[in-house]
Symmetry: C2
Subunit: 326 residues, 2 copies
């Protein structure tokens, strides 16, 4: 089995490649080769028994997407994106990567023809929803994004469903919750603080909280996100039918509940490292985001996530901190 990851230098892409290296299989089949692509050169996963081909390019440019498909990968994970905050600031860049890039990729898959019919797993986002919301967002709630990023993801979902319906590939779009605790340095996502207020204090650093503690949001761990991708790549999509965009399960908590979970896991000393500094731009963006979903379809299809925010924090401590709190 040959796997292509587009966006392989990103946090989720790296963890996915590492998981494939660890498992050695996907959907019970041996992974023989992984093509890892990003706009910057990705690194090969450690300890893989398969060959890793590393590529760097701008896949939104004409002809570039076709190069990624030269080895006719069986499974394509499309994780590449300009994140929400940056896509909002840079309209042209966001549309070029998040929309044109996706369109070029899908068109390039179709152009191969000759019976080529890969599985395509596309990471969408809860940013496809826009306020005002019902108490709980169900599987049939409409997509009225309030950011360009959310718009681009919603369009990607529509294209993926149409290309799948026409038989050009077998696609599934998964709407990821906000990923928490995001390891490493902050990126330009407006949602960064949800992770910063946990990760930095656990590492002995101060963190800034730019919104009120009453802000409620929808989370999953990086480990669960990789689990969603693996499951989406393995699932019988006949069970999914023509509606190929699925909201993933998550955990709905307020910032206050996040902080209390941190207190339970790591104590007052760690919590004291969170500093309040309201940021009106962040407050305005976050105000339009989804707070609670009922991911009924995905749950029935076997997608699973954490059941408490303490569990999400412990996943971070296990996976990123070797079990140690500063």
């Amino acid at each position: 089995m040959h796997i292509l990851i587009i966006g392989a230098a990103g946090m989720v892409g790296r963890k996915l490649a590492q998981r494939l290296a660890q498992d050695g299989t996907l959907d019970g089949k041996l992974v023989a080769k992984a093509t890892l692509h990003d706009v910057v050169m990705p690194s090969a996963p450690i300890g893989a028994s398969f060959e890793s081909v590393l590529l760097a390019s701008d896949f939104s440019l004409p002809g570039e997407a076709a190069k990624l498909l030269a080895g006719r990968p069986d499974v394509i994970f499309h994780l590449a994106a300009i994140v929400s905050g940056e896509a909002e600031q840079n309209f042209d860049l966001g549309y070029r990567i998040n929309l044109t890039g996706t369109m070029e990729l899908f068109a390039a898959i179709r152009a191969i023809g000759d019976g080529y019919h890969p599985r395509v797993v596309f990471t969408s986002s809860i940013a496809v929803y826009g306020a005002p919301f019902p108490e709980v967002i169900g599987d049939e709630f409409f997509t009225t994004p309030l950011t360009s990023y959310g718009t681009q993801k919603a369009i990607g979902e529509l294209l993926l469903s149409d290309y799948s319906r026409k038989g050009f590939f077998d696609g599934i779009a998964i709407r990821l919750p906000t990923i928490c605790v995001r390891p490493g340095k902050p990126n330009k996502a407006a949602s960064g603080f949800f992770s910063n207020i946990i990760r930095e204090p656990l590492a002995g650093e101060d963190a800034i909280l730019p919104v009120s503690e009453s802000v409620r949001h929808w989370h999953t761990s990086p480990r669960s996100a990789v689990g969603f991708l693996m499951h989406a790549a393995s699932l019988d999509l006949n069970l999914v039918g023509p509606r190929r965009a699925l909201a993933m399960p998550g955990l709905s908590v307020t910032v206050g509940e996040q902080i209390e979970a941190l207190r339970k896991v790591a104590g007052d000393r760690v919590v004291a490292r969170i500093r309040r500094l309201p940021d009106l731009a962040i407050i305005k963006i976050v105000d339009g985001w989804a707070t609670r979903l009922d991911a009924k379809r995905a749950t029935e299809l076997g997608f699973t996530t954490e059941t408490s925010f303490e569990e999400i924090i412990r996943v971070h401590i296990d996976d990123e901190l070797d079990g140690k709190i500063a």
Copy 2:
């Protein structure tokens, strides 16, 4: 006031231009100029007191959309589309006109900058919905199109909302019901028979019914469709908010009810001209279409339509047949 109609040679475009010529005003302002564009040369409306500029081009080609905007129209009606049946048969053509064309137009408006902020009225369609449906489709039901045409319209709506939110223009997308009774010759729309079974018998011709009489669908007259466009161009969009795609009001009737209305208006002799000839391709497409909506938002915003199918038939007899039945 300068008005641009893209798709001005189509049935709705022609009727809209004629209505503007008749009224002489839009939203209480004098129409000074109309730019009428289509892929084939449109004709000027009869009896207009304003100047009509007639243009033919493929607006999806680079640079063509900008030419349509040279006179900086105050209101842009974007009606151009490859219809559902043809977009389904010709994937590339449908995407090029219905998606690339729309993207080129929106980008060209944005590129003018300099405070240019026209009203953009985009005709979307109930084809953005895909079965299975609830008993009644509400304003917050999601868009899961089952045709490429519906996909392209849903994407156009998303782009229009995002461009409007970013302040590049002031857009509104109106989801038209199937237009019935469509005058003239059949086009390639899969929905053509809904009109054929009324129009042809009234003109003394036989018509083919390719589906069962139990098929339920959502209709409005050409006169109401033009009314929607005029209202959409005049409406204060602050009342609409960021969710710029609105389902238009319509009338939900079965084919059997259409036929009984025809019988009431025109008698058994006319109804006898309908011949049953099932077409599996049409049956399959129509099976995925919306049957009944609750267009609550649009109704509250003042959009109106007919209240019985007899009224729809009488509109056709008045507007197209000079009141005479063959």
